[in-house]
Amino acid sequence: MTQEKGEKSINLTVKVWRQEGPVVKGRLETYEARNISTNMSFLEMLDVINEELTLEGKEPIAFDHDCREGICGMCGAMVNGRAHGPEKGTTLCQLHMRHFSDRDTVVIEPWRSRAFKLVRDLVVDRSAFDKIIQAGGYISVNTGGSPDGNAILVPQEAAEKAMDAAACIGCGACVASCPNASAMLFVGAKVSQFALLPQGKPEAEKRALAMVREMDDLRFGNCTNERECEAACPKEISITNIARLNREFLKASFF
């Protein structure tokens, strides 16, 4: 392999949570990742380890991923105690190995939350998020001819804020990094993206109530405003969205 400019190779000690299934006991296992190019992404580094494991006839490390472009929300793990690793506003697939140094030890654990059941190794079942969306994360529109694009006016500021909220890729880093395993940033973003737009207004009350109720029923923790979620979020979604959720929920309940 020819080396690109500025490219280096590093060796790492990687400790990964291995667990065969939801009910069996898991443990941290140590692997040596050798000759890892600093241009690789974190997931490619795992690919390298997995290739070696496969050659040795061992079970590769299971981890979720899809786009590897930071847009689908499938990837994610705790890297040295931080959701999606040390870089701000970066998904695990977009985290590059140049942020690590030679001979670093890297501890990788799955998202931990009662509402996210562990499937295998680093893979967790995030269908709890889908259930919250099903409870109200949509707008109802009649089918028919397509409406005139300018029929409903949206102030530019509202559009921007709604877009910021809609940047949520549902990866679950907010839950994973929250000391209380709360899903408020996710629900806050999903409620906000509609609450800010005229199209979302008709069902705003029903939506806020139903989504919060579903979130509570799924046994996510309670937000105590620790702000770890917004710091860990790869899309840097602000907790002003949580405040908006609080507002929408209380308004819908009391008025």
Binding site: A83, E109, R114, N222, C223, N225, T240, A243, L250, S253
Partner: protein, 213 residues
């Protein structure tokens, strides 16, 4: 379930209860501190203040009952939140680092809360539920603060309250949904200033009292 109960019982409802009761306690702290500052005017002013306060009679009883009610709501809701949050992550991380959101105040809320509950009970035993027949209010406080251990404990308690309030105050605004880029930075500053004011304002009192007794 009745809509009112189910609203309060939801996760956001519980936070609302914490926020409103907490804000009431902040107001109480402010009033309490203002009253205590009469100590700087000398023994007589302080005793006069205490007497005037007790002369309010039923109004004081009413406020006491209200404070007790607020305390019960705040403590019980806090316990439910703590238990729920503890259960929300049955398997803990082996390695977990803060990414910069938490503060000492926010990370220690349940523990500073428990400490304060203990302190407040002791505080009431020392200053409220005490035989006031043959001693003035000033004598009571100067007697209690004559023990250096108690002074130490009291000052530590004030630092703890400062931390609790530093997170609690801005957090209450966030919980009731009052977060806006225009005034949230201001609320953050107010929280810090308020917690310093409470911590230092009360914390310096015992030193001054021991000096003048």
């Amino acid at each position: 379930m009745n809509w009112f109960i189910s609203t309060l019982w939801s996760s956001i409802g519980k936070k609302l209860m914490m926020a409103i009761t907490g804000l009431c306690f902040c107001l109480f702290l402010l009033g309490h501190l203002a009253g205590n500052l009469t100590v700087y005017g000398g023994k007589d002013l302080f005793n006069a203040y205490a007497e005037n306060l007790h002369a309010l009679g039923p109004l004081i009883t009413l406020i006491e009952i209200l404070l007790l009610f607020l305390a019960i709501v705040h403590v019980l809701t806090g316990c439910f939140l703590f238990y729920g949050n503890f259960r929300a992550r049955p398997k803990r991380y082996i390695k977990k680092k803060s990414v910069g959101g938490r503060t000492i105040g926010s990370a220690t809320m349940p523990y500073t809360g428990v400490f304060m509950l203990g302190f407040i009970i002791l505080h009431l035993l020392n200053f409220t539920f005490i035989d006031k027949a043959d001693q003035t209010s000033f004598q009571i406080i100067s007697n209690t603060f004559s023990s250096p251990f108690y002074v130490m404990f009291y000052m530590i308690a004030m630092v703890v309250i400062g931390f609790h309030v530093s997170h609690g105050l801005w957090s209450a605004f966030q919980s009731i949904g009052a977060n806006h880029p225009k005034y949230m930075p201001f609320i953050h500053i107010v929280s810090i200033v308020f917690s310093l004011l409470i911590g230092a304002g009360f914390g310096v009192l015992p030193v001054y009292i021991t000096l003048i007794s």
